[in-house]
Every structure is written in C-alpha cells, then in structure tokens.
Symmetry: C2
Subunit: 391 residues, 2 copies
C-alpha cells in the first residue's frame, strides 16, 4: 500500500459515542506502518477546505481515554453542503499534505461526501482511499445492522419513558397524560426504543407513535381515553415526525408565525377533546448527548468501527462504509463488514413493518429482540409495592 | 410512649429518591416496639380520607431494596388541598385504625397538612404524633440545609448542561445558541446547579438565569452576542421562572391562546434580535424522575430522614419536620435535626444574594461549595483535544 498520512473528520449531529470512533481510528492508525501522520479536520470538510488540520498522534493517552466517555464531536462537526467545485480544492489540500487515507464519520450525507471525495481523487489521478464510518442516533443507514450512536440514545429514551412513567403514574388523575417527544423525523427507531424500558404488562409507555405510521387524531383520542379509564394515566412516546401536519401555526412572542411541534399538537388535541391535563417532556438534544446513558455495547462498537475503517483503508478498500454485521445465534455480537458508500448515501432505512404493531401504536416483540442488546447493560430493575390491604 | 400504628404518605411532585424516605420509615418503624402496624396511604391524604391504607410491613426485602432506586412516589402522590372540615374525618380514620404516628413526606404544602393534622388531633383530644419528612427538587424549604430530592435533580441538571454544552460546541456557528429550560418557578436552586458541570473556564453553561433575578431583554441580547462572538456558541441555563412576563400569548393548533414558556420567549427574542438559530432542550419532569442521575448522597440522606422521622415520632416530638444540618468542616456530612412544621409550611427559601453573581447571570463560588457535595460522586471527567496544529 501507498505510504502517506491519514485524515479523519466528524460530520452531522454528534452522538454520545462518536469520539469512540475517533479514538479507534487514532489507535489503529498509529500502529499501521503505511500510515505516517494522523490528522484531524476541525469542523469536518469545511475545516479541511480551510486547511485547518491538527496532529492527533500527539494527543495524550489520558485525553483519548477521557474522549471515550465524552459526548459531542471532539473535532467539531459541520453541516456544510459540499459544492461540486469544492472537490478539486479538497484533493489539492490532501495532496499538499500527502494524505492518502480519508476517513469520514457521519450519516448518509457524510457518506455521500466521502464517496464524492473518492470519485474526485480518481478523476484527478490522485491515489486515495476514502472510507466511511457510520454514526447516527436515527439508526437509518442501510447495509448495517445498526448505527453506532443509536444504542446510547436508545438507552436514554428507554430510561426516560420508564422513569417518567413512574412519575406520571404517581400523580394519577391530577395530570394523567404525559407525552415524551423523541427525535427522528423520518425513522421511528429511536421512538420505538421507548418500549425497551418496560418490565411488566401495563408499564409505560402505553402508546408509541412513529413516523412510519403517522397519527390519526380519532384513533389517538380513543386510545388515550381507554388508557386513562383503565389505569388513571397514559404515557406516550411520540416521534417528532409522527404528526406530519401540526395544523395551525403558532405565533411567538414577537408575532412571528412558527410551526408547532408534534408534542404541542398532540397535547392541544388531547386537552381540547378529552379535557385532560397533559404534560410534556422534550429532552431533544439530550437524547444524543447525555453521557450517563452511554451504552457499553454502543461505545465498544463505535470504537471498533473506527479501528476497522483504518484496517480497511490500509488494505486499499476505498469507497466503502464500515458496517456492523450481527452474528447469528443467541449471544449477541456484531462483526464489522463493508458496504459501498454510494448505496448508503442514497438510501434511508425505516422501521420495517414487522417491527410495528398492527394497531400502529406499539412495537412488536421482534423489535425488542433486535434492539435490547444495543442499549448495553440491563436497566437496573425498579420496584413496585405489592400493596397488601390493611385488614 | 403510646402503643399504636404508624401511617406514612407521600405528597406533591415525586423525586428520584422519595422512595428512599419511604423505605427508611418502614425499616425504622418495624424495629420500634411501640409501633404496631406500618401503614401506607395510597395517594396521600386523599387516600387516607377514603380509608385506602396498605400494610407496608408485609412488603418483601427485595421490593424495598428496588424501591431505593425507583423514581416516582410508590404509594402514589396527591395534590389534594385539604378542606377545613376534612380534618375531623382524618382523625376519625386514624382513630379507627389506632394510628398514633402520622408521617407525611412532601414540600411546604405537605408540611402544612401535617401541621393541621397535629392541631386537629390536639383539638379533638386524640393522642397523635405528626412528623414531616422534607422532599422537593426545588430545595426551597427553610430550616434545612437542603431538601432530599434536590441532589439528584441537581445532578441531572449539571450533567445535562455539561453534556449539551459539548453537543452545542461541536455544531458551532450553524446553530450557536442552546437554551436548557430548568424547573423552579420561584427558586433558582435547581437552575444554579447547572454550574456544577463546569470543569474549566469557558465551559457551559455560559449564562445562568434564575427567578431571583428576572431577565432583562437588553442585557441578555448583549450577553449572548458577546458569548457567540467569543466562542461561536452560547449555552444558557434558564429557569422556567426567570421570564416573569413571556409577552404575547401563543395560539395552539385549536385556536386556544396559551402562555408561551420561558425558553420559547428567550429563543424568539434571540432569534428576532440577533438572527441566531436557537435550539431548546426541555427535559421538564425528567429532571425529577431520571434514575440514572440518582445522587448517592441524596439517596442516603433521603433514607436517613425517613428513619429519623420515626425516631423523632417515638420520642413524642410532634409537629416537627426532620431537617438536614451540615456539620462544620471540610468533609461534607449532614446530621438530622428538627424544625417546627408551621414555620416550614409558611416560608420559602430562595437563593440568597451571596450565591448569585452581581451580573445576575451566573452563580458565585460559594454556591458551588454549598451544592457540589449534594450531587454525589464527582462527574466522570470529559476529555478535550489539545489540537496541536499540523506543521
């Protein structure tokens, strides 16, 4: 293989474990004889274009160890949409630094960027290996069992719904409905993870609404009414994408019209039609940043896909993304594989129909089997009083 | 002391550790010879009025052990405002069950209820000991160093601001402002805890707004502008009570006017005046229910005030609330004490001026010294790249 330097960039929304992939890349790259310098782009491809490169091989072991439990993209992320004539400049920067290994960590937009860099290098006759490392809490990339980042965000969601369920149950009829709004505009993977906190029948969440099955107002009203009648409370996991049309626009304090969110719409609907008090939790970006819910499995896999990307690169496998491939059998384990960047870039993996209950407001056991290993250690079990009556 | 049964009730908003106090009461009560039955009211005083009592002494050790990490009020909570003529009925129920020990766990409304029960028993010549156990994430009760429940919610807030800060920093200029809305309409204790996640100068949160110093629009705009200019991002911890007038009402999807929240107001203000993209995290009730942030110190103290309440009761100390009294010296430890219920019931402890920075948008080191021990184990340290430039 060609001797040269390596560069790694982080792109798109960060996750709790994104820096595990960065550390995996660094650890593997410094061991590879064909790799000289191990560089980082500050703020992704925009930083590369501006020549903002740092020397990652000089970072201390303690820094790298700490980064493995540090949320947010340590290199800085970016949402820059690369323009067609940027690619020539990108190759010029790579050439100037003798960078022969280009590793890009992100979602499908980032995989497209990596693919375009690969094509540009080919077109310009510059020998380069471009490899993608998957990352997204949305879990919507094709060709991989799941995406690093999903497991930790899913652990947050499972805990949030379970624990918020106990809070709501305790308050009973005085404020019987709780809606927790979950990230994921198109794909319901993260919202579905709300079911992973259930221990017993009747546990929260009682209704789960995913973008793959947009809500029907009448069905929701009937379901909430039934749940509150049965148990005095109702806890709803609602994807931000499960209400495609949130109706009338809201007007903010400065008279600007703005679209109301999914949870606001549903709360207004339930209040309007059932006269019930509704409370909202909107953890938003905490779902992807809260370090107390890092999944040990997710962190380890994120690290491993980083190492695998460098291994693939030194073997000359350009234009691929590293994938996770679940080994058959009872014991959960994922090996790494590869998939063509272009195929990942142009596709989106939604929740398959067999993971969604026919009623459209819950998940199927097959989803639980799929997702439970990804959130790491079992959630510490909660208690519940037996409530023996006083004679 | 008089031989009789004990009853315990939980009231008001639950906390992560409220069931530790319940278990503390049960463990202590079953050891006391003067106490016969150990009963629980379902849904607080409303349950007592309805005669809904359960036998807590029959609960298994495993249930009690699990309850020590279970958020939400295991007995069910209540927001019922006791009416003057309810008290005679309450005493009648207590008399019918030979209940001589009345333990009530809650905030200042609950302390008032316990006080009124004490007075009613006296007036009706029924021998009864009424003891309050403090509980509130707002930390606003007088006569106690702090309230059980505060430390765990404060740990959530500290982690949320720290971790969300890394997420916001990574995104940089593309969405530079993050507002995390924190509970506490009148008291800023919980919002102030946002500062406990800082490690180094420049760490999030960059601005902290507490109800004790309501925001001034012009000052906020100037401060946010300065922060974004200096570091490309700005993370704000905003108490829900720091914006006393959120201006124009919002109109929901069904045409109902509703008051916008503090974070919505501030986001609209910053967007309107500075043209910056603002993102919001509103964890709301997760702050008081998320079990992954239970503070070991808080859980232990909540348990201990439960035990202390029973000890005080069997010593005949009626009409008191158990308090936490900080021992002087470098090593943190709180002993338990007592304070008159009536004094706690009618007062609210706000953040003292010496804990608030003169600028009104930060806390003073004295607050950090006060609050840091309460959140338990030190937060696992995060990492940050040294960012050595490529030569």
């Amino acid at each position: 293989m060609i001797q040269g330097n390596l560069v790694i960039g982080q792109s798109g929304g960060p996750t709790q474990v994104i820096n595990n992939s960065l550390v995996g890349v660094i650890h593997e790259a410094i061991q590879q004889k064909t790799i000289g310098g191990v560089y980082g782009m500050l703020n992704g491809i925009a930083g590369l274009l501006a020549g903002k490169l740092i020397d990652l091989a000089r970072e201390s072991d303690e820094t790298l160890a700490r980064l493995r439990r540090t949320p947010g993209a340590a290199l800085g992320s970016v949402r820059y949409k690369v323009k067609p004539d940027d690619y020539e400049k990108i190759i010029a920067v790579l050439r100037a630094h003798n960078i022969r290994y280009f590793i890009y960590n992100g979602g499908n937009d980032s995989m497209d960027t990596a693919h375009q860099v690969h094509l540009a290098a080919q077109a310009l006759g510059y020998e380069l290996v471009a490899v993608g490392v998957p990352k997204t809490v949305d879990n919507d990339l094709v060709h991989t069992d799941h995406c690093p980042g999903y497991g930790s965000a899913a652990r947050f969601v499972a805990l949030a719904l379970r624990d918020s369920g106990r809070d709501t149950e305790a308050m009973g009829r005085s404020s019987p409905v709780k809606i927790v709004e979950i990230m994921g505009r198109n794909a319901g993977w993260l919202t579905a993870a709300a079911a992973l906190g259930r221990d017993e029948p009747g546990d929260a969440p009682h209704l789960i609404y995913m973008p793959e099955r947009p809500i029907d107002d009448e069905q929701v009203i009937a379901a909430v009414d039934r749940m509150v009648s049965a148990r005095n409370h109702c806890v709803i996991a609602l994807s931000e994408g499960a209400v495609p049309d949130t109706g009338l626009e809201e007007v903010d304090a400065f008279g600007h019209k703005m679209k109301g969110g999914a949870a606001d719409y549903l709360a207004a609907l339930i209040g309007h039609r059932l006269g019930l008090k509704v409370r909202l939790d909107k953890p938003n970006y905490l779902q992807r940043s809260f370090s107390a819910t890092i999944s040990t499995v997710d962190a380890e896999e994120a690290y491993r896909v980083g190492r695998a990307a460098v291994q693939a690169a030194v073997h000359g496998q350009s234009d691929v993304m590293i994938t996770l491939v679940r080994r058959p059998g009872a014991d959960y384990f994922c090996e790494t594989g590869t998939a063509p960047l272009a195929e990942v870039a142009n596709a989106e993996k939604l929740l398959p129909a067999e993971y969604i209950a026919p009623t459209g407001d819950d998940v199927m056991p097959a989803f639980i089997d799929y997702a439970r290993p990804l959130i790491g250690e079992p959630l510490p079990p909660l208690g519940r009083l037996a409530k023996y009556p006083v004679s």
